[in-house]
């Protein structure tokens, strides 16, 4: 287990160092999420007070759309120079590739979120009154679930020629329970309703995270064999 973790961190560090040098994916994701906010401001008039109700949903729309861009890249970029084969034949457990990619994507998406959510609040002139700790916890839990299942399906979709198109089609139906939980919990925290309700959603999301993490962790081996 320790070896898997060490290998995973090596792979994650490699991806992040690569990203730090080029800044291509993260830059694109941030610009893209800002553009989504811009488009939404045309769809829903930000000066209107009722728009406050859609803020929780918007947070997750931005996260998913910009996250999809990053997830697509995470395995496609390995196909240049056939690096994926290098990873597969390396004397490491296939699960550590998965774990490494999850960590790298999680860091990437979290960084993008840290910028895009404040931008959203700023542009929509939203005053944050909720409990910050709970808000962060909910965002983190839902993002972990999103990245776990997203990374797994990105690895699956990378086998196809039209993987950019395939990934959303595979990912979005599987994400639906997580997104219901995330939007509801975020709404409860932002509107300061009752934290006990948010906790039961948080439990659902945590259960989802754990279940899919376990399933993906064990099934990833077959994905690597299959391609």
């Amino acid at each position: 287990m320790k070896i898997i973790l060490a290998d995973a961190l090596t792979i994650a560090a490699k991806d992040l160092r690569n990203e730090l040098k080029s800044k291509q994916t993260s830059g694109m994701m941030i610009i893209f999420s800002s553009l989504v906010i811009l488009i939404f401001s045309f769809a829903f008039d930000p000066t209107n007070n009722t728009v406050k109700a859609i803020i929780p949903g918007l947070i997750w729309v931005i996260t998913i759309f910009s996250g999809l861009l990053g997830l697509n890249r995470s395995f496609i970029s390995e196909q240049e120079n056939d690096s994926l084969t290098g990873l597969k034949v390396a004397p490491i457990d296939p699960s550590s590739i998965f774990l490494g990619k999850v960590v790298a994507n999680l860091v990437l998406v979290t960084i993008v979120q840290m910028l895009s959510i404040p931008i959203l609040f700023l542009l929509f002139d939203y005053k944050f009154h909720g409990d910050l700790i709970w808000f962060l916890l909910i965002v983190l839990t839902a993002t972990i679930g999103f990245i776990v299942i997203g990374t797994f399906l990105a690895a699956l979709a990378a086998n196809a020629k039209n993987s950019e198109m395939l990934l959303p089609v595979l990912l979005l139906p599987l994400l639906s329970p997580l997104m219901i939980g995330a939007v509801q919990a975020t709404k409860i925290v932002l509107e300061q309703e009752g934290i006990t309700d948010a906790i039961s959603w948080l439990q659902l999301m945590a259960a989802y995270d754990l279940l899919f993490f376990a399933a993906c962790f064990f099934l990833f081996e077959y994905l690597m064999e299959g391609s």
């Binding site: 299942i149 797994f152 399906l153 699956l156 086998n159 196809a160 020629k161 395939l166 089609v169 595979l170 979005l172 139906p173 599987l174 639906s176 329970p177 997580l178 219901i180 939980g181 509801q184 309700d197 039961s200 959603w201 659902l204 989802y208 279940l211 899919f212 399933a215 993906c216 099934l219 077959y222 994905l223 064999e225 299959g226 391609s227």
Partner: protein, 236 residues
Amino acid sequence: MKQPSAFVDRMLYILLVPAMFVSLYLIFIWSPIEKQMGASQKIFYFHVSTAWVAFLAFFVVGYYCVLMLKRPTEDRFIKAGISAEIGVVFTTITLLTGMIWGKSAWNTWWTWEPRLVTVLILLFIYIAYLFVRKMEGTWEKIAKLSAVFGIIGCINVPIVFMAIRWWNTKLHPVVFGEGKNQSGGGVEPDMLVTLLFCIGTITLLYLFMMRKGIEIEKMRLTVRKAKSRVIEKLAS
């Protein structure tokens, strides 16, 4: 080898055709007309039985996916695919009949109720599964990939159901079984007989289509193999 399979097919066919007519008779003539909804309630028999087959087909896909991970064989791969294809058809029928019924009973085509949304998401997962199967590559590779996706999809369906149930009941975790508003009293015995008969008939239809589909798929495979053999011979 070929004889018993053809016999089973014929038996299924002989059973299926009269069963269809009998169930039509039961639905439209024999069973009583519902008091509140009137004749439009008749669609309920088709709706419930196709929904049952949609879920059955889905679990068949899941079953073969697990088997395929253990040891991928062409037979299992074909069976999972055919079951998914039939599942798409029946899920669509379920949604359409449900919408028609909903329009007449609740005066709306669609509500965001747990069962409706679960079936809709089930349809999307089925279609995504078929997309995975349409990838290029050798069948062994696709078999592994699609099996993995099928299992993940199977895990997802119950979670979707629970999540939407919580969402719609405004967070009062519902205990298994009938919810508050759905507890209104059972089914008339005559209607129950008709319903069970219908479910049986549609399940038979599923089995029949499944067998035919597998046969066609195997024929397609044989033709493809023969084709590549001929091409090889011509090339050499």
